[in-house]
């Protein structure tokens, strides 16, 4: 079965940045071939997942306010299916790390991530979460959450504008759209 190009409603593919790695991934899939049944199932699952990303309400500092703005009337991430912010990590799909993570918070963030159910994704929002930002020289700031948990999308800014976060979330959707769910491990064994 032919693997389809990644499509996001309303925005053409070319207008996104960082297309190369996704295109490469799609090509890899095409080269390996995907079974019809599994391909269709995968497409369905990915469609569901990418359009229903429920974020965890998690914010440590300034970026949290912008995250709230994204949920509010003007930016409204409910449009994309990020509607329900869950307070329990068990029910959330994506954790938006909004704000600085300091040493005392690091174990808690790790635990929150561990408590989330698969599939789970991480968006590092703001320069603090990416690298420690203005506080990177501090004695107790974690220089980037990717040192603790795997990050899918980085959204730079201090704090990022709501539009930037929406863009980051759409990038995550694109990433999810080419995930292979069925027989993912079998392919690895073949190699």
């Amino acid at each position: 079965m032919e693997v389809k190009d990644i499509k996001i409603k309303g925005i053409p593919h070319e207008e996104f940045n960082d297309n190369e790695y996704l295109e490469k991934y799609v090509e890899e899939l095409r080269a390996n071939g995907v079974g019809i049944v599994t391909g269709v199932l995968d497409d369905m699952i990915n469609w569901g997942r990418s359009n229903s990303m429920w974020p965890l309400t998690f914010a440590t500092s300034c970026c949290g306010i912008e995250f709230m703005s994204v949920g509010a009337a003007r930016f409204d991430f409910a449009r994309f299916g990020f509607e329900v912010t869950r307070n329990s990590p068990r029910q959330a799909d994506v954790i938006v790390v909004a704000g600085t993570i300091v040493d005392k918070m690091a174990p808690i963030l790790k635990r929150l991530y561990d408590q989330m159910a698969e599939p789970k994704y991480v968006i590092a929002m703001g320069s603090c979460a990416i690298s420690g930002g203005p506080f990177c020289n501090s004695y107790c700031v974690v220089n980037g959450v990717d040192k603790i948990i795997p990050v899918d999308v980085f959204v730079p800014g201090c704090p990022p504008k709501p539009e930037a976060l929406l863009y980051g979330m759409m990038q995550l959707q694109r990433k999810v759209k080419v995930e292979r769910f069925m027989f993912k491990d079998k392919k690895k064994q073949d190699k």
């Binding site: 409603k9 309303g10 369905m44 699952i45 469609w47 569901g48 997942r49 359009n51 229903s52 509010a72 009337a73 409204d76 409910a78 449009r79 994309f80 299916g81 509607e83 869950r86 307070n87 329990s88 068990r90 029910q91 799909d93 408590q115 159910a117 698969e118 599939p119 769910f181």
Partner: protein
Amino acid sequence: MFDFSIVTTWVDQFLRTYLPEFWVLAIEFVVVGVVMLALYAVIALVLIYFERKICAFFQCRLGPNRVGPYGIFQSIADMLKMLIKEIIPINHTDKLLFYLAPFFVVVASFLTFGAIPFGNGLQAFDFNIGVFYLLAVSSLGVIGILMAGWASNNKYSMIGAMRSGAQLVSYELSAGLSLLTMVVLSGDLQLSTIIEKQSDTWFIFQGHLPAVVAFVIYLIAGHAETNRGPFDLPEAESELTAGYHTEYSGLQFGMFYLAEYLNMFIIASIATTVFLGGWMPFHIGGLDGFNQVMDYIPSVVWFFGKAFALMFLSLWVRWTFPRLRIDQLLHLEWKYLLPINMVNLLIMVGIVLLGWYF
């Protein structure tokens, strides 16, 4: 008015001509079961979409609009995701109760769902104690919630479950008494008879003020029973993170989520059936022409129209009011609703005895 019992009787006759009774019944049970299950899921999905759009409307937002036209497939995407999300096995839980709880909640709401008359002749089973049955099984759900709260071994869940227990036990009284008020008026417990009796005028108009009072009380109590709106204490997002289902993920959480929406529908449909004439069109005694025009609208449309109107009301309340505190919640029930309800019941008895109703 098209009577769906014609269809069902015809199917029944048709099967009976070829098969022995046992097989006829078996096939009918399976078919009805599957249809009901499908309806259950579809209604829940529609409701989720319905709520999101309405809530967005109240909040000056757009709501889901990317998945399909106007985002109508949003809840399907949610369901797909939920179905394949990991179910986390948690240590230190009471395994049996933990896994049983979501089923309990869903089964309780499904049992109630089965007895609802959706249209003229569209009712899965029609007991002669219909109202009693509805009340009995709809309150089973709380056991599931209590089980979930207890088995999760989580303090938030525990507090949520305890709140839920207190809340449901209290509000069940009001809901029951207000339905009882209407049973006094109708003189029958069977749902089909209750609807038949409203063919001229709906009960809410027949019973004067007591009927209206009972209706309002039932809406409040029913709203409280669904754990929504200002009464969402067991879930209390800002206090208890996710309340009794804090520890549930994936499909198990999905079941709670589904049951919550379905309960809303069930409460609305019971209110519709008992107070607003169920699938019965809006009739005004004496105006035959008007009544005939009304009869052209199918009974299913009438039923769902009324139910959705009531649900809209419920959503309106939910998205407007802040949450009650547990003591205020119990005050409202035991100090106001219950006494009013009892007096109301007496007045209704008087009205019925004196024959003052229409």
